[in-house]
Symmetry: C2
Subunit: 152 residues, 2 copies
């Protein structure tokens, strides 16, 4: 029997990240889930599109909003393999997404590099957004490390 | 004789903002300029596209990168009528844009609400990005105020 837990959906996000890896893009993948159904997917396409805004999360948010016909996603959960950057953090703020689950930390480009969340962990997001981190973090981080090893 | 100064291009950005205003969108407009030529324009289309990521700056960055065939904009200047939000700030960071000129401050949603720039004013942007603010700020702010007055 399938168990629809955070790991299950993070594995879906990892499948998206693998598509990025295979296309020689920084391997970050995301899915957006409502009631245990994936309503949108995205993987980093910055190189393909020559577009610095084409991160997995941005593409997934745009896709989910398009699917739902709404600019808000309060009932949705985003699963993303790596800690969102400042841009994606801001996009998730505007979407009022219900929950964010990310895998690996990103010390170099993650939002926590810029924003002090010590007194309020949801600071840059909508106040009702729930944040979970560390799900399959080693596997998500390993995909990033493998990519940058290959690049060297 | 035309003088291609910051005010000249900020007026171009205000024309974009007026398009947003006329479409009942929060009136923010942007242009991206290289060598005194406008290479991309954008105005807020969040409502039209049902997309929380469709801010003026994001649309302009995507458009400029598409025009140039590059994900980086080091020789470009963005003119935007209002202080960028966190999302747009992150997008501009990734684009390595040469210069950012904005009009009015945005105390409620601007990036400076979240990021302490007291020791480093370019902190969230690329280290080489130059930041100028306050150009036609009263006119840019008045457009925002007029919009929210109309909404009440």
């Amino acid at each position: 029997m399938l168990v629809y837990d955070d790991e299950f959906f993070m594995r879906q996000a990892m499948r998206e990240a693998q598509k990025a890896f295979d296309a020689d893009e920084v391997p970050v993948g995301a899915v957006i889930v409502i009631n245990n159904k994936v309503v949108a997917r995205g993987y980093n396409q910055v190189e393909l599109l020559n577009d610095p805004t084409a991160h997995a999360e941005i593409l997934a948010v745009t896709s989910a909003c398009n699917f739902l016909g709404s600019k808000y996603l309060p009932d949705a959960t985003l699963f993303v393999t790596v800690e969102p950057c400042l841009m994606c953090c801001g996009a998730l703020h505007w979407s009022k997404i219900g929950k964010i689950v990310y895998g690996a930390d990103d010390v170099k480009n993650g939002y926590k590099k810029y924003i002090d969340i010590s007194t309020n962990p949801t600071l840059p997001f909508h106040p009702k957004t729930e944040i979970v981190s560390g799900i399959l973090k080693d596997e998500c981080a390993e995909m990033m490390k493998a990519f940058f090893r290959k690049k060297r």
